[in-house]
Amino acid sequence: MAEDVVERALAPAVPAGGARRDRLGRLRSRAAPYALVAPFFLLFGAFGLFPLVATAWTSLFRVELTAPEAREWVGAHNYARLLTDEFFWNALANTVLIGLLATVPQLLIALGAAHLLDARLRGRLFFRVAALAPYATSVAAATLVFALFYGRDQGMVNWAIGLIGLDPVDWQNGPWASKFAVASIVIWRWTGYNALIYLAAMQTIPPELYEAAALDGASRGRRFWHVTLPGLRPALAFTGIVSTIGAVQLFGEPLLFSSGAGASGGADHQYQTLGLYLYEQGWVNLHLGRAAAIAWAMLLLLVVVFGLVRLGRGKGVRR
């Protein structure tokens, strides 16, 4: 299929000449596009495809980091045991909950922020760069600062809620408090990024549409609802997809949130995400086969989520 396209595209570019030169030239121009895209596919093969396949292969064995060459075929056992692995289900539930706690407010705030940035505002450029600043900060640095904020005894957050007369919260050990704290780091880092994407999309909406709507007597709210939001649909889909992928793979924030917890995600694994559980099985417990199975389960999870979204959307269109 791709060849046809290339041939058609190349047809006028082939110079007239002798048959030999013609053949050579055709060969060269047929090979050129492949040569040009080859670096990408070579790199993708080495760093994308190969690890993917190797991980799938590894997940079918019982294999330890202490002796990777001594592998024992177990078939689908590593996957089957996930079904009864309460630590896996706990991590899955945590991933979904933290994902929801982080993604929903993040996208809503981003939408509101983009709306504000789109309007007349003094120092707009400053705010736009400031919105992107958290995104440019390293996860490690940001998380360590947040961990200080959320300290139980000396944290600023507990100091602040103490001022309004509330009891201090154990942000590390509380099952909900810790999830909220981790989610807040994600929100802080990604809201500005999403806001800028929405802002860019908002600026591509033709002003005539707003004028027409205003002439028809639409209020600000109705203009936002009926003009802005439909215009943002591709941007909404993009940020939704990227945020979902990010939520499933969430790793750095929970890993560094408590310096004493490491990959365990808290004393009761209360904020251990799938990414952390994978890391714990592979690099703390040294079970490479089980870790590989978790990695593939995460990929399958994404496929299922996006498959369901697609199904749901298809139904919606038919209706």
Binding site: V5, G48, R128, L196, V284
Partner: protein, 509 residues
């Protein structure tokens, strides 16, 4: 995984160029949406640049949009924005990279010396800091020593295993923590050099149990002990005095001599008259770890079977730790976290089970305010908590020279220097009698005779078998199990079951 859709989507949103304009004589790209766009270097000068920055985005759309900016008002925010970006980039550049940074090599340049030996360690191991490499290089003009260091032991160990099994990326000498030594001896024996008969190694110099920990069943010795962690109890004299307890180290030692339960009783006496905001000890996990460190057997029996769930000594240590939590005798801190560090600085607890290597840590975190307030008494029962080994991978290029260096670094004289300068207590029994150890006193801890206290503790340590997953079991008991009892008030039985479940899962049982 997931990288492909992301990068494609990014390309699609950013690449606004008309593909037909991109090249004149070269084939056209496959299509508008297929594959990655051409690299930035390939773009002809007249092609409109994609909007890479926020500023450009605003400028491009500005004139047409109601958001058009006035030029005058732009300068200030732009400057502010640039400043912010500069600050952030600067901040990123100087980030302390938390996981996995290969540390600096030695100051001495190896060039000109025929043999360069590398030593791979974790944390601030002390060999370099004590000047031992420099001494060795003076004695051996043909040898240069370089050190690579990973800050975190939990990152170091999996990497060491990966390097060992791959036979590549190894240093000539590698450090191994005691919690991992049994696993290394069990699974990596074929990849390590037998050091039992290396020149300069004398079995009789080492404590017998330390020597045995790195020995295989067939009698090969794969690791030479550097330091050990004999146990004492560090306590604050001012807090003890305020609570009406004795402050002299001999009298304090007699309060709980022979039984950790007496340490609990002392804690309850302390709690009755404790100064405001001062707990008796730092954490329930610390007490539990200290009690277990003197048990025999601990997590594995002599046949190498895991007995953590059935060993009454482990359960007794667990119950004692839980009692500290129940009576509110702990400051509810987790060891080796920033809160714990601040606990030292603010004097939030009056005592702590302290292995020899912890003295430097306490001094560091306690700061000048703590000087003279701390003292050291004998622990209720002797125990060992921590310590390390040096191993020589067989895949190295200078195996003989590396074995010689490892033997020299772990010889009693050098271990005594390491203790004198860094506080790591010798695993070589022969070093106990050397003046640097025998006469050692610690000024920060009221000139306590640390050499004598820790030597006595080391001699009483029971020779318990070590198992391959000792370190992991220890971490789970402390940080998954007892931490919940201490910090969230979970019942000891329920937390015990959770810890056992976590151990079974981690050990794949």
């Amino acid at each position: 995984m997931g990288a492909l859709p992301l990068s494609e989507s990014c390309q699609n949103t950013v690449n606004t160029r008309d593909p037909s304009k991109t090249f004149d004589d070269a084939p056209r790209p496959l299509g508008r949406t297929g594959g990655p766009g051409p690299g930035p270097g390939a773009a002809p000068p007249d092609a409109p640049a994609p909007p890479p920055t926020v500023g450009a985005m605003g400028r491009r759309n500005g004139p047409r949009r109601r958001t058009g900016a006035r030029p005058r008002a732009r300068a200030l925010p732009l400057a502010g924005a640039l400043l912010l970006v500069a600050a952030l980039l600067g901040g990123c550049a100087t980030d302390p990279p938390v996981p996995a940074t290969p540390g600096g090599g030695s100051e001495v340049d190896g060039s000109g010396r025929p043999v360069t030996l590398t030593v791979g360690v974790y944390g601030t191991f002390g060999l370099k800091e004590a000047g031992l490499y420099d001494t060795y290089m003076r004695l051996h003009p043909d040898v240069a020593i370089r050190q690579t260091s990973l800050a975190r032991a939990d990152v170091y160990y999996p990497q060491l295993l990966t390097h060992l099994t791959a036979g590549a990326g190894l240093a000539d000498i590698q450090a191994v923590e005691v919690g991992n030594i049994a696993e290394v001896v069990d699974t990596q024996a074929g990849r390590l050099v037998d050091l039992a008969h290396a020149p300069g190694v004398e079995e009789s110099a080492f404590l017998p149990w330390k020597w045995a920990q790195a020995r295989t069943d067939d009698g090969r010795v794969l690791g030479l002990g550097t330091d050990i962690g004999p146990l004492a109890v560090c306590y604050r004299k001012d807090h003890f005095a305020a609570a009406g307890l004795p402050t002299d180290r001999e009298e304090v030692g007699r309060l709980w001599a022979g039984d950790w339960r007496k340490y609990l009783e002392t804690g309850r006496r302390f709690a009755g008259r404790a100064p405001e905001g001062v707990a008796f000890t730092d954490s329930a996990s610390g007490v539990m770890a200290a009690v277990i460190s003197g048990a025999n057997p601990r997590y594995y029996d002599a046949e190498g079977r895991l007995v953590v769930a059935t060993n009454p000594a482990v359960r007794a240590a667990w119950d004692l730790g839980a009692e500290f939590a129940r009576y509110g005798l702990t400051a509810r801190l987790q060891q080796f976290t920033p809160d714990w560090d601040q606990g030292f600085a603010q004097g939030r607890f009056a005592s702590i089970a302290c292995p020899a290597w912890m003295l430097g840590y306490i001094q560091d975190k306690g700061g000048p305010d703590g000087e003279g307030r701390w003292d050291i008494a004998a622990a209720p029962r002797p125990g060992n908590w921590g310590g390390s080994f040096l191993v020589v991978p067989a895949a190295g290029t200078h195996v003989a020279e590396a074995a010689e260096l490892a033997a020299w670094l772990t010889a009693p004289e050098q271990q005594a220097v390491l203790f004198e300068r860094r506080g790591s207590f010798p695993s070589a029994e022969a070093a106990f009698g050397l003046p640097q150890v025998r006469n050692a006193r610690h000024p920060y801890f009221g000139d306590a005779p640390v050499g004598r206290i820790y030597s006595a503790a080391a001699m009483g340590v029971p020779v318990a078998p070590v198992g391959p997953k000792d370190g992991l079991v220890n971490t789970i008991l402390s940080d998954t199990g007892m931490l919940q009892v201490d910090q969230t008030g979970r019942s000891p039985d329920s937390a015990w079951r959770a810890a056992m479940k976590a151990i079974d899962n981690a050990l794949d049982r």
